[in-house]
Amino acid sequence: MKQDYFSSNNIKHIDYKDIDILKKFISPNAKISSRKKTGLIQKNQRKIALAVKHARFMGLLPFVAK
């Protein structure tokens, strides 16, 4: 992903309940992907990291997988 996913798809808000989108930004081991891999702008990378952490707390995403 070279371009920012949220800008190109015209998504304004990043929601921690939207796990289908969040799953795009975690590795098979459920680690949050680096900005180099995600291609997000810094602002959205911070938001996605927070959203993944919220989703993990609520049991929507795993802390570790495999």
Binding site: I11, H13, D18, M58, G59, L60, L61
Partner: protein, 163 residues
């Protein structure tokens, strides 16, 4: 002067969202009661509801533990729901106290958010190789042919089929 400013801050309404994992051992009625209780506590604290999702059963991504009446409980499933509302900071603090003593809640999360819907709209993908979806032009052509067909010829064919 300072007091006035503090009071003003306390009266300011912010948009928050609470999501919660309710114990999966509750029956349908108890679940409705529990959800009603949370909403009642919210409105008591002066909240104005914006949107909500009724709790539905989900598989948790990992096993959660929660001590309820001195007994450790493990959960692999939960009823997950959320409510978006507007409330003052003071009201939120008093509401959160009621959550802490609630034994049917496994976990809850309160975040500050915005009034609009934050969920991204779901896309509907159409496969490029899908033959069931025809371009609009093709359908029109077929209709045109059907109209042009000779009526007599159609009658003859029908007779043939009947005989």
């Amino acid at each position: 002067m300072e007091k006035e400013i503090i009071e003003e801050k306390g009266a300011e309404m912010n948009v928050y969202e609470i999501s919660f994992n309710i114990s999966p051992f509750l029956s349908e009625e108890d679940l409705a009661q529990e959800y009603g209780k949370i909403k009642e506590n919210l409105s008591k604290a002066g909240a104005v509801f914006i949107s909500e999702q009724y709790p539905k059963q989900i598989e948790l991504a990992y096993t959660m533990e929660r001590v309820i009446s001195n007994k450790k409980n493990k959960f692999n499933q939960a009823f997950f729901g959320w409510v978006k509302f507007e409330i003052t900071a003071d009201g939120l603090a008093s509401f959160e106290e009621t959550l802490k003593t609630d034994e049917n809640l496994i976990r809850y999360l309160i975040i500050q958010t915005v009034r609009e819907n934050t969920m991204a709209p779901k896309k509907t993908f159409v496969r490029s190789g899908d033959k069931s979806v025809r371009p609009a032009g093709a359908v029109k052509e077929e209709e045109g042919e059907a109209v042009e067909m000779d009526k007599e010829a159609v009658d003859k064919k029908i007779e043939e089929l009947v005989v």
